[in-house]
């Protein structure tokens, strides 16, 4: 992992902690930005880089855990909590909500760095996945409305004939739509298309066996 293309955000109302953490991360070659409050943090235009948030729980404006609850897990970098007096219920809740770690001050460098790396890795993965999904979504959006109607039927495993009947179109027409879809979605095979559809959460609405529309 590279040291330059990631960033660590620090939010702690204790300026000393902010300084120390920044210093340590700097010494480790990690870029960091420190804030004393969530408000400041939110006001900062975050660069589109993988990163993580080292978040103190006791903050003047909002409780760290509360902030976590409110954040968009998809978009927000992973959080490593640091706290002066951690209690088990809080830490459990934090972890359940997707926190990378829950460190009790004072924490060791190793602990911290491990958590940061984990977080950044996780962010990288998430970002990657997010990018991929974005591509797929872009592709999906390129489909016509009829194609978008066809897609769920195809990935549901209906035969062309069944799908055509469902839509009240000819089997030939359906086949044309299907090939267009395969192309647009850059699917190598039907199985690939099914996987893509799954990732795009295209609902599987029909079953080949039943032959009737059902849930």
């Amino acid at each position: 992992m590279t040291q330059d293309d990631c960033i660590v955000f620090i939010v702690d109302d204790d300026q000393r902690i902010c300084e120390a953490l920044s210093e340590l991360l700097a010494a480790r070659g990690l870029a960091s930005v420190a804030f004393n409050s969530i408000a400041d943090y939110l006001a900062f235009p975050r660069p589109d880089l993988p990163g993580c948030l080292i978040l103190d729980i006791e903050l003047p404006d909002i409780n760290g855990l509360e902030f976590q609850k409110q954040t968009d897990h998809e978009q927000h970098p992973p959080i490593v909590f640091i706290t002066g007096h951690g209690d088990i219920p809080s830490s459990v809740r934090a972890i359940q909500r997707g926190a990378v770690d829950f460190l009790t001050k004072p924490f060791s460098e190793t602990e911290l760095m491990k958590s940061i790396h984990t977080a950044i890795d996780r962010d990288c993965d998430a970002r990657l996945e997010r990018a991929e999904l974005m591509t797929l979504k872009r592709r999906l959006s390129s489909l016509t409305s009829r194609e978008r109607q066809v897609l769920p039927l195809v990935v549901s495993g209906l035969l062309n004939k069944q799908a055509a009947a469902e839509l009240g179109i000819s089997e030939v027409t359906l086949q044309i739509h299907r090939s267009k879809i395969m192309h647009k979605m850059q699917a190598a095979s039907l199985a690939d298309l099914v996987r893509i559809a799954e990732r795009l959460q295209v609902p599987i609405t029909h079953s080949r066996r039943a032959g009737t529309s059902s849930k």
Binding site: I17, A20, L24, A26, G84, K105, P106
Partner: protein
């Protein structure tokens, strides 16, 4: 010249002659003879003269005698009475014509006088006559003489004894005067006098007469019998001896005055009875005057008035006693005429009102009545006068000093035999104190009644037998009905009442307990379900105590019923909350402390460690970044110092506690804390007051923390009053706005106060044996974390006040 007896005349002449001879003879030797002859002749001449004179005189006398005999006869015949001469034998020797006529044609010579004198009278007078004879006295008497027609008439008789020349008694000269008519009159007079005398003697009064000089000359029998004295002893000044010594001098003086002036006497005094006892008499002496206006006699009437006097004295004594009684009565006594005007006012009445007899007379007494009561009283009084019925009324009477006091005016008519009102008797009794007491009592009773009816408690009472006696308005409202005492009941009223008002499941137990209490007098206390007026059963706490009289007998049972249904329901919730809180507040001090310490110490510690790692990194870099290493090292030093400082300023450690702040009303929190601490407060006998600002703005705060702060302060207060015994413990909560942007809450106790109002907030500073000294430190840190302040001050007259401020919630409260 008086005629001389012949014998003495001759004797005298011889004597004179003899003297002449004697002188002649005796003087013979000394005198000359001539002289002697002269003497002789002179004596002879004298003797001759005397004899001659005598002879002349004798002849004259003889002539006179003859004439006298004639005259006597004539005289005897002519005297207008009967005359006789009797001899010693009682035979009539001579009688005059009148007598002869009287006796009729009887030969009067030698008539025995016994034949004509009434035998009774003869016998009666015979003794007297013989006595007169012996004494040579004349006889005076009266007897009856038989007239010729045989009737006897009374004659007054005068008889003188008759002697012969030798002086020998030879009969009586008797003159008789017809006094028969006179005698009859006399008899009548005597009878009349006798009758008068017997009247005088028998009248039950003493009658006396006295001469002009006051010497008593008559006393009737009553008087004589009374005094046992005779007239002699009473005459002159002798009567004074029987007058009571007390009146003696005055009576003597009065008598003297009467005698001198002739004024009648009219007075009462005591006179001694024969047995030595003095009795009162009314003496009235009237003079009789002659034509010249000179007093001739005194007539006196003495009336025994002793009984009267005694009765009078008794009456006087009684009257005096009555007067004293009236004056001594602690009430104002009066009497009035039938027309309502004043007749009599007791001394007290006059003294009390300060009015004079004149002022109060007639209807003047009205002036002493309070003007507000006057018309009412007068109207009432007139109504009594009109009807003649006794009555009483209350009104204010003015005292001499102008003060009005309430009196009870009572009037009672006095009727005569025919039922007509002749007087009104009355009394005015001071009832002011009583009236005031009554009013106070009434007010107090009313107040008590109001109190009993107003206090939000259900009050009841029953008789010792358990009969319902009273329920207050609240209880009436609670049951939605009155307990009708006249309602017919099966069994006792209590049974009926219980049956209606109790949950059937509790009925038996309550009844048993109540009957037990009624029987033994033990206080009754039970919790059970009561049927409210709306038919809903609710839990109540019913307690009753007996009221006993001085002898320990139960007079009444008084009870209160407290609806505890809500409490019963809330109880579990409260208990749970309390448990939680007490656990929390106990743990809070330790857990929070450690957490705070941890937080506060760990913060710089974490910085130090992190910096040290960074420092290490910079040093171990290639090339080592000494510049950055130094910076981190400096920070390490700084933060370590900060950590050390934290330890020395533990209070600061509590600054950053996690809290969940919401908009809360401190008044509510105070209410909650009171509720939570209720048992503790009550068990300590503490009286809680509140002075809460109803318009208290809300604050952004942690409710639990605020509870903790207040619980802490309340505990502190309770602890501070633990040793308070001389005054009633009180805890006072206050809340109000503090300036523009804050509120202030205070908790006051009246304990002993505290010596160091600032140090108590230092951690580990404690004045309590079991205290850790963290409570107030935490409280202060909680408040400071809320941007508030907490402080303490001692208050007058005693106790401590803890106050804290909190900022009022605003849009950007941070």
């Amino acid at each position: 010249m008086k005629a001389m007896s012949p014998l003495r005349t001759y004797g005298l002449a011889i004597a004179i002659f003899g003297v002449g001879l004697l002188v002649f003879w005796l003087s013979g030797e000394q005198e000359e003879i001539t002289v002697r002859h002269t003497y002789m002749r002179m004596a002879l001449l004298a003797a001759i003269a005397i004899v001659t004179g005598f002879l002349i005189q004798e002849s004259q006398r003889q002539a006179a005698l003859d004439r006298a005999v004639y005259d006597a006869r004539e005289f005897l015949e002519s005297i207008p009475g009967l005359a006789w001469i009797v001899d010693t034998e009682g035979r009539l020797t001579k009688v005059n014509t009148s007598l002869r006529d009287y006796l009729g044609a009887v030969d009067t010579n030698n008539l025995d006088c016994r034949q004509v004198i009434h035998p009774e009278d003869f016998d009666r007078t015979a003794g007297l006559m013989s006595q007169c004879l012996e004494n040579g006295q004349e006889f005076h008497g009266a007897y009856r003489l038989r007239r010729h027609d045989g009737t006897y008439r009374w004659f007054r008789v005068a008889a003188s004894p008759r002697h012969d020349r030798n002086g020998k008694f030879n009969g009586w000269y008797v003159i008789l005067l017809d006094i028969d008519d006179q005698k009859v009159q006399e008899e009548a007079l005597r009878a009349s006098e006798h009758s008068v005398r017997s009247i005088l003697d028998n009248i039950p009064g003493m009658i006396a007469t006295a001469d002009s000089q006051g010497n008593q000359d008559y006393a009737n029998k009553t008087q004589r019998d009374y005094f046992g004295l005779d007239l002699l002893e009473l005459s002159g000044l002798g009567f004074l001896s029987i007058i009571h010594p007390d009146e003696r001098d005055s009576v003597a003086a009065a008598r003297q005055r009467c005698i001198q002036t002739g004024e009648p006497m009219d007075r009462a005094y005591r006179m001694r009875r024969r047995d030595g006892l003095y009795r009162w008499f009314h003496a009235r002496l009237e003079p009789i005057f002659d034509e010249d206006g000179k007093v001739i006699r005194w007539y006196g009437l003495f009336t025994d008035i002793d009984d009267l006097k005694r009765a009078e004295q008794a009456l006087e004594a009684k009257e005096l006693q009555l007067q004293r009684l009236i004056d001594a009565l602690p009430t104002l006594v009066w009497s009035a005429h039938p027309d309502g005007s004043t007749e009599f006012l007791s001394r007290r009445w006059l003294e009390y009102t300060g009015l004079s007899q004149e002022q109060a007379s007639d209807w003047g007494w009205i002036a002493a009545i309070h003007s507000d009561d006057r018309d009412r009283l007068v109207e009432y009084w007139r109504s009594l006068l009109a009807t003649g019925a006794p009555g009483e009324i209350e009104a204010r009477l003015r005292r001499f000093d102008g003060q009005y006091r309430w009196f009870l005016f009572q009037g009672e008519p006095v009727l005569d035999a025919s039922g007509i009102v002749i007087h009104w008797f009355g009394s005015n009794t001071d009832i002011d104190d009583r009236k005031r007491a009554e009013e106070a009592l009434r007010a107090r009773q009313y107040e008590l009644q109001q109190l009993v009816d107003t206090i939000p408690t259900l009050v009841w009472s029953v008789t010792p037998e358990g009969e319902p006696a009273y329920i207050n308005k609240q209880l009436e409202a609670y049951y939605g009905r009155k307990i009708d005492h006249s309602e017919p009941q099966e069994g006792t009223k209590l049974d009926g009442a219980l049956g209606r008002l109790m949950h059937p499941d509790d009925l038996e137990a309550v009844k048993r307990s109540l009957i037990h209490s009624l029987k033994t007098g033990e206080p009754f206390a039970m919790r059970y379900r009561n049927r409210r007026g709306d038919g809903i059963y609710r839990w109540v706490d019913n307690r009753a105590q007996p009221l006993r009289d001085d002898d320990g007998r139960i007079v009444k049972w008084y009870g209160v019923i407290i609806d505890i249904d809500d409490e019963m329901r809330a109880h579990d919730i409260v208990r749970a909350t309390q448990d939680k809180l007490s656990r929390a507040s106990q743990l809070a001090s330790l857990a929070e402390l450690s957490a705070s310490i941890a937080h506060e110490v760990n913060q710089p510690l974490a910085a130090v460690i992190t910096n040290s790692h960074a420092c290490q990194r910079w040093l171990s870099a290639d090339p080592p970044n000494l510049q950055r290493a130094r910076i981190t090292a400096e920070r390490m030093v700084r933060d370590s110092m900060a950590a050390a400082e934290v330890v020395s300023r533990i209070r600061a450690l509590f600054k950053q506690t996690a809290s969940s702040r919401t908009s809360i009303n401190l008044n509510e929190v105070i209410g909650e804390v009171r509720q939570l601490m209720f048992d503790e407060i009550i068990s300590q006998g503490i009286f809680v007051e509140t002075d809460l600002d109803a318009a208290l703005p809300p604050v952004l705060a942690d409710r639990v923390q605020m509870q903790q702060v207040l619980v802490n302060l309340v505990r502190n207060g309770i602890d501070a009053m633990k040793s308070t015994i001389d005054v009633s413990k009180s805890l006072k909560f206050g809340s109000r706005r503090h300036g523009e942007d804050a509120i202030l809450v205070d908790v006051r106790d009246n304990g002993d106060g505290i010596a160091e109002t600032e140090r108590i907030f230092d951690p580990f500073f404690t004045t309590k044996a079991g205290g850790m000294g963290m409570g107030l430190a935490i409280c202060r840190s909680i408040l400071e974390s809320h941007d508030g302040r907490l402080w303490a001050e001692n208050i007058e007259p005693r106790g401590t006040m803890f106050s804290f401020t909190l900022p009022i919630q605003s849009g950007d409260a941070a």
